[in-house]
Symmetry: C2
Subunit: 206 residues, 2 copies
DNA sequence: AAAACCTTGTGATTTGATTCACAACTATTA
DNA sequence: TAATAGTTGTGAATCAAATCACAAGGTTTT
């Protein structure tokens, strides 16, 4: 179980470190200093060191961090030493694109169930996944151990769909709908709304 | 020009307020207190008031905020009283889904140019946009006033593509590639990487 | 018209994150 | 082997953000 005393903002940077370490490993590097990593990841070296020190001393003084060793540790901290099955609800344009996206599986996140309400979409196959009727959510989730959901339904259906997911055991939701979900304590939600990001950017465009 | 003395974290919350105010307006509400807004948006009322007070006193004591008036002001602060034309580079699964996504245009962001390197994709039409050869980037950007780009190319092409975009006048990039872009000062980048968010979520899943 | 109530806007305070500064240790060079 | 250089890990100091507390002013009720 994750220690509850580590600042969430620290946790949020670990995936970034992991991503960059994976790049370095692919380039054939074996050791990296916090200064080099800082350069790549755009975060001050001392902050990287302090973040890592919450979890232990992974580095060697005078040398740096063994990349494989640090990747192993970060993957363990982030619970990435397993395949995470996921359900996606809403198989429109975006949902289909996400089902086809290779990047999830590459990092151990596998969409194993796709649900939709539209009869024209139910039964179609996308990248090996046959879309099921959203009515089957309860039964499908019951006989699986899916704990993560991708929510790509229209905004007006998002809240009720999210509640149904949570009622049937979903513990984390990646929400693509442009609304703020109200869900019970203990359910983690991460929002992905490109419009909010654009509106943030335009503030700085004269 | 945007005042440079306002914390970025404050600016980042304004789009959220705007989104929620738009919902309230659509529901027929005319006035909202910071307490009500807090409830909807999930941010403490005093923080909403303090955020807004950076830009002026928009409320009425004893009453609350006139929704239309506050929306107008936020739109003006965020430079949303115009259509923002955008270019998208990379018309794969995700790029196509974004071109078809209605949410951008609905909020004043319009994809007017789509570029790709793949001959099989160049020339195809998606939601009224004919995909152009990425080689035409310079010419197309020169005769337009596009300042925002959506970057949906593969990771290994992202850095060089971003540099080309910046060289031809792009000032803000919404980066969907799973890498950290290194770009000159003055270019704003916002990253959308669902895998990083998932890896953050799994930390909290036992 | 007075009293009671409500809500904003903000200076002061508290909390939390970042950065500084450096001791401790390792590796490399002379 | 000694001296120099490099790098981590961390307590202390600084900086920034969030929250508190409340005066001021508007609204509603009696």
């Amino acid at each position: 179980m994750a220690k509850p005393n580590i600042p969430d903002i620290v946790v949020s940077r670990l995936p970034l470190y992991l991503q960059t370490l994976n790049h370095l490993l692919r380039e054939g590097e074996e050791v990296v200093s916090s200064d080099e990593l800082s350069e790549k990841v755009g975060i001050p070296a001392v902050q990287i060191r302090k973040d890592l020190s919450y979890f232990g001393g992974f580095g060697v003084k005078g040398k740096g961090y063994d990349i494989i060793h640090l990747i192993d540790n970060l993957r363990s901290i982030l619970n990435l030493n397993q395949i995470w099955p996921m359900v996606i609800v809403g198989v429109g344009n975006l949902g289909q694109a996400l089902i086809r996206y290779q990047g999830f599986a590459r990092q151990g996140f596998e969409i194993v169930l796709a649900l939709d309400i539209n009869p024209n979409i139910i039964g179609t196959e996308i990248a090996g996944i046959v879309v099921q009727d959203v009515e089957t959510m309860e039964a499908e989730l019951r006989r699986s151990d899916i704990r993560i959901a991708l929510l790509t339904v229209p905004a007006n259906a998002a809240q009720s769909t999210a509640e149904a997911l949570v009622a049937h055991g979903i513990k984390a939701i990646l929400n693509y709908a442009p609304i703020i979900l109200k869900l019970p304590e203990g359910v983690r939600v991460a929002n992905i709304d490109p419009v909010l990001k654009l509106e943030h950017l335009t503030y700085y465009l004269s």
